[in-house]
Amino acid sequence: MELKQNQLAQQNLARKRGAYWNRNLWLTALLLTVWFVVTFVAGWFARELNEITFIGPLGFYMGAQGALIIYVAIIWFYAHYMNKMDEDFGAHEGEGE
């Protein structure tokens, strides 16, 4: 289908795609950082975190529940944000797919 479009439209498409992909990469990197912190940083300092009490000892609570809740939130946010971004960029799948 792209073959029929003129050059200008193609350049426009390429630019739009670049922006779409960049935003996707940034979001992925951001969420991956959150994932890393709640898993590995919190795991490394679990003994220290246990000094703090949040529902239970925080280090233990993070491993048993806190990290899990954040994982669900990460995935929910990614799906929500990307699905919305697809529409903003007109990148959602057409009926013909």
Binding site: L32, A46, G56, G59, F60, G63, L68, Y78, D86
Partner: protein, 704 residues
């Protein structure tokens, strides 16, 4: 697949499964009434076992299909919510359902590696793989490797790795099916394996992915009910709070921690009683140690001498006409005395380890990396190793999650990229429900054991304790070591699987709930086995037969080949399982590390790095897999080589070496050879941008 039809389909699915759930609850109620009318526990066990297997077979029969897309990817019209439930059941195996809470009970904080590893991996699935694989939209994971990297070699390595890790994992599942069947119906382990297998086969054989999907949704509903009901009840009983995930931390954990301190404090009455038991174990450990030393010094002659001494003791007792039981015990000691030096050594090392373990203080449940050592330096070193292994295991389990083909395959079955993303959210949510309950269950059971069982009298043990001690000594072993008539914590040995299996009885629920728990465990094991067997059969039939051997094969023949392979693989897996190979946790761990090392680097770089090419994929996958296998073979005690560990990493986390080697392999191989062609670039664009058509089709792969 137009929108309105899909929406209507989702609505009717919700209706069906609501009816189904209602029907299932009614079934449990009827079974409860039957129990009150005096139907025996064994009959109830059979009822749950056969009713659920028949149900799964029935769904399989109703979903029978001869359409390729339906057989391989359920027609790509599974709504996000239902795909999430199916992925949940697919994911949660016998190890999660029955083993997890037990692991947490036994190892406290350190067991949380499994909780985090088996949930956090979905972040990687969501961010790196699911939407892109859905956009790619073919049938198997090796399909993607084949299309992205070209040629048959990456696909072949993919097939090999998929079969290797799925087969390792499926054996653990079928093993679980056998154990549950044997326990709740009294059938023999081997018979149980094959009956359970028949249920799996009817389902996947007739309807492939379509049947497996709808059965897995049904299985998820059963397993989550079965897990939640006893825990909620236990929570209400102990804390008056119906939310175990809160009450366990606010009410039960502080009490457990206080009791742990008391048990370890010799000045309290409970602590002193514990200490007297530990002292006996300490003596036993020393005795075993002395014997080992004697054996080292005297060899076979020492054994002969020792045996003579024991025989002399028997005669002595007989002359003194001591009580019959003492004579019996002494005679037994003579009979069981090992005369072969190798056997003696193994037995005494075993004795020493077991006694040493029970001679130590109680480990604090909430304390991360509890280690012991004689000097602060030793403690620091041991703690460093524990910490490192904890984090390494989490990473391997997470990356493995995002690389196991039977999980990734599930995201081929949604109607769109959008639904694939939403579906990962639902998947993790449904998995999360069980995983954030398991640590709470472990704490609640620990609370019961520490506060009620410890300190009770041996003449008046709680019913659940004597029942399980009579059924299986490996699950519940309790003996009055210091002969004071009172139960001490050090006198109890609990097998991990007991926690989930015995919870209904601990909570004082009727037997019908135990039957429900067994049905839940069976559902967890069967659903995972279903998904795995299908993955293996599809990799062989689709990737090997259709893509490499006979691309012109007509649809009917492709399905016949697939079904025949399914049968062969299933029988082979059941046969291997009936030989009862080693440790289940080791098998599961191996599957994750293998998948992580073989697939993850090549899949992720294939999407995120356009420059990655065929040579890179071949090099990365082969090197990652080989390093992982090599490390396991040289360090798992099972293989008997026992080479020194690299940086003290345990063999279960072999992926920690395989994953980076895989990434480096892909990068080096790609940079050494020319950049891939324009078609590959188009394929990557196709995968990255949800609205771009072409790509896979431009590559000459068959459309959907």
């Amino acid at each position: 697949m137009a929108g309105p039809i899909q929406a209507q389909f989702a609505t009717s699915l919700k209706k069906y499964y609501s009816f189904y759930t209602g029907g299932f609850i009614a079934f449990v109620v009827v079974a409860g009434v039957l129990e009150q009318l005096g139907v025996s526990n064994k009959a109830l066990g059979y009822l749950f076992f056969f009713a659920t297997i028949l149900l799964y077979a029935g769904i399989g029969f109703m979903s029978k299909t001869a359409d390729v897309a339906e057989y391989y990817v359920a027609g790509r019209r599974v709504p996000a919510l239902f795909n999430g439930m199916a992925a949940g059941a697919d994911w949660m195996s016998a190890a999660s359902f029955i083993g997890l809470a037990g692991t947490l009970y036994l190892s406290g904080y350190d067991g949380l590696a499994f909780v985090m590893g088996w949930t956090g991996g979905y972040c990687l699935v969501a961010l790196f793989l699911a939407p892109y694989l859905r956009k790619f939209g073919q049938f198997t994971i090796p399909d993607f490797l084949g299309a992205r990297y070209g040629g048959n070699i990456p696909r072949t390595i993919g097939v090999f790795a998929a079969v290797l890790c799925s087969f390792t994992y499926v054996i653990a599942q079928i093993y679980g099916v056998g154990i549950i069947t044997a326990r709740f119906t009294g059938l023999e382990f081997g018979v149980g394996v094959f009956v359970g297998l028949a249920g799996i086969l009817v389902c996947s054989f007739l309807g492939g992915m379509k049947a497996v999907t709808w059965t897995q949704v049904a299985q998820y509903i059963i397993l989550i009910f079965a897990y939640m009901i006893p825990v909620v009840w236990l929570s209400v009983k102990h804390t008056g709070n119906p939310v175990p995930q809160i009450s366990a931390y606010t009410t039960a954990l502080p009490k457990v921690s206080a009791l742990e301190k008391e048990f370890n404090d010799k000045t309290t009455p409970k602590g002193a009683a514990e200490e007297s038991v530990r002292a006996i174990f300490h003596e036993r450990a020393t005795a075993a140690e002395d014997r080992l030393k004697g054996l080292d010094a005297g060899g076979a002659a020492y054994l002969v001498d020792e045996k003579k001494k024991l025989q002399a003791r028997v005669s002595e007792l007989k002359v003194a006409s001591a009580d019959v039981r003492a004579i019996d015990a002494a005679e037994r000691a003579v009979r069981h005395f090992p005369i072969d030096p190798a056997v003696a050594r193994a037995a005494w090392i075993n004795d020493r380890e077991a006694a040493t373990a029970r001679a130590g203080p109680v480990k604090a449940h909430a304390e991360p990396f509890p280690v012991s050592g004689n000097t602060p330096e030793e403690v620091d070193k041991a703690r460093g190793i524990a910490k490192k292994n904890f984090l390494a295991l989490i990473l391997c389990l997470m990356v493995g999650t995002a690389a196991l083909p039977h999980i990734l395959m599930r995201y081929y079955t949604t109607p769109s990229v959008k639904e694939a993303r939403t579906s990962v959210t639902w998947s993790l949510f449904f998995i999360f429900l069980l995983y954030f309950t398991a640590p709470a269950l472990a704490i609640l059971v620990k609370f019961e054991v520490y506060s009620h069982l410890v300190g009770s009298s041996f003449t008046d043990l709680p019913a659940w304790v004597s029942n399980w001690a009579a059924v299986d000594k490996t699950l519940m072993n309790i003996a009055d070591i210091n002969k004071d008539g009172i139960v001490q914590l050090a006198e109890i040995v609990i097998g991990g699987d007991l926690i989930v299996l015995a919870t209904p009885e601990i909570a004082g629920l009727p037997y019908v709930i135990s039957g429900l728990v067994a049905a839940g465990g069976l559902a967890a094991a069967l659903s995972t086995a279903d998904g795995l067997l299908l993955t293996i059969a599809n990799a062989l039939s689709h990737d090997v037969y259709y893509k490499m051997i006979d691309p012109a094969a007509p649809t009917t023949r492709r399905l016949v080949v697939s079904k025949a392979l399914l049968l062969v693989v299933a029988l082979l897996a059941a046969y291997v399982t009936s030989l009862k190979p080693g440790d289940i946790l080791a098998l599961v761990g191996a599957a994750f590390s293998l998948a992580a090392s073989a697939f993850f680097p090549a899949l992720v770089l294939g999407i995120f790095w356009k420059r990655a090419n065929q040579l890179g994929a071949i090099l990365g996958m082969a090197a990652g897999l080989l390093v992982c296998i090599y490390y396991m073979v040289v360090t798992y005690p099972l293989f008997g080589i026992n080479a020194p560990k690299w940086w003290d990493i345990n063999p279960i986390s072999a992926g920690i070496f395989g994953i980076p080697v895989g990434f480096i392999g892909v990068i080096i191989g790609s940079l050494l050879s020319p950049a891939p062609g324009r078609e590959v670039e188009e394929l990557v664009d196709h995968v990255r941008y949800p609205n771009q058509a072409g790509g896979a089709r431009a590559m000459g792969a068959s459309g959907t």
